[in-house]
Amino acid sequence: MNFDIFENIGEAANTFSKIQIDSNELVEALSYLKNNAEFSLDRLNTIIAVDLNDKFELIYDLHSVETGKVARISVLVDRNSPHISSVVNVFKSANFDECEIYDMFGIVFDKNPDLKRLLMPSSWIGYPLRKDYVQSDERLAWNGGDND
């Protein structure tokens, strides 16, 4: 992939700009940013998932421990078949992030060793943080309503 798009990375942590890349270049880009001595973005702060109405966006927030610079890598995921490769081999802390995003949005991370629901009960139906999640609670026993 073309690594020139990363030339201007390295602002301070209290500004915001993100770099858009393709979803199949994700693991390569993150490994490059982590191992390259010029950037050395060696800590994955968090993975943020946003539900834009026709697609999902994943933002990878990378921080550098030595220099304090940050980089935000943004990837778009198709809504109808949300699959993307996992980055657990590059950053181990991505495991919990990806399980939570699977739990909340339904995005499947291929090659994640243990993808399961993390915050909701394991047999919950639906993905709560999607914009079209129906919060009508008649399905759930203890939300009262007309049940008793």
Partner: protein
């Protein structure tokens, strides 16, 4: 006859109300205020709650401090069922009284009295330690009015508002949902299953 019962009542209620031992059930923020109540400044031990028991088998008060979510609810129900009679419940904090500020959340039980019967409601977010002590004093007054002739009535009231069928599964009649829970006999079924 009633003279004898009422003097026995007086002694037994006096003994029971002055030594209520709570159980540590602190889920979230109200738990910290419960801990502050048991610390040196607002000592709860002077009201008789000398120790906070960790196990429900040795406790007689469940101070339900903190938000209860759908994932946590079977655990709370099982803890309540494991407590021996006579038992009492204080619903501490706005989240347990009726959902609190999480009323529109998808994963919060809107009030713990949908799961277990509650004696004293204590709103505030979080209640000051003085408020928790005030609710404890109210509970003591409530206990002093009890009588041993009505013991069966109290035990009959100490059941969960949820309905169970003969397989000990949770039953919701109108909506046709069956929700598995941890059975009354104590064997652990796998978590909570929502099916429809």
């Amino acid at each position: 006859m009633n003279v004898i019962i009422s003097s026995i009542d007086y002694v037994s209620n006096w003994a029971r109300s002055n030594s209520i031992w709570p159980m540590t059930f602190a889920t979230s923020c109200c738990g910290i205020e419960m801990m502050q109540t048991s610390a040196a400044n607002f000592d709860i031990a002077r009201f008789g709650s000398e120790v906070f028991r960790a196990t429900p088998r040795q406790a007689d008060l469940l101070i339900c401090a903190g938000t209860i979510t759908h994932k946590m609810a079977p655990a709370l129900l099982k803890l309540y069922q494991q407590m021996p009679e006579p038992k009492y419940v204080i619903a501490m904090g706005a989240c347990t009284c009726g959902g609190g500020m999480f009323t529109d959340s998808y994963s919060v039980v809107k009030g713990v009295d949908k799961i277990i019967p509650v004696d004293i409601y204590l709103p505030m977010c979080p209640p000051k330690p003085e408020a928790l002590l005030d609710s404890l004093i109210k509970l003591q007054k409530k206990i002093r009015k009890e009588t041993i002739l009505d013991r069966q009535k109290y035990i009959a009231r100490h059941v969960s508002p949820l309905k169970f069928d003969e397989n000990e599964d949770l039953l919701i009649e109108d909506s046709g949902i069956t929700v598995q829970s941890w059975g009354l006999s104590g064997d652990l079924k796998e978590g909570l299953a929502y099916e429809f």
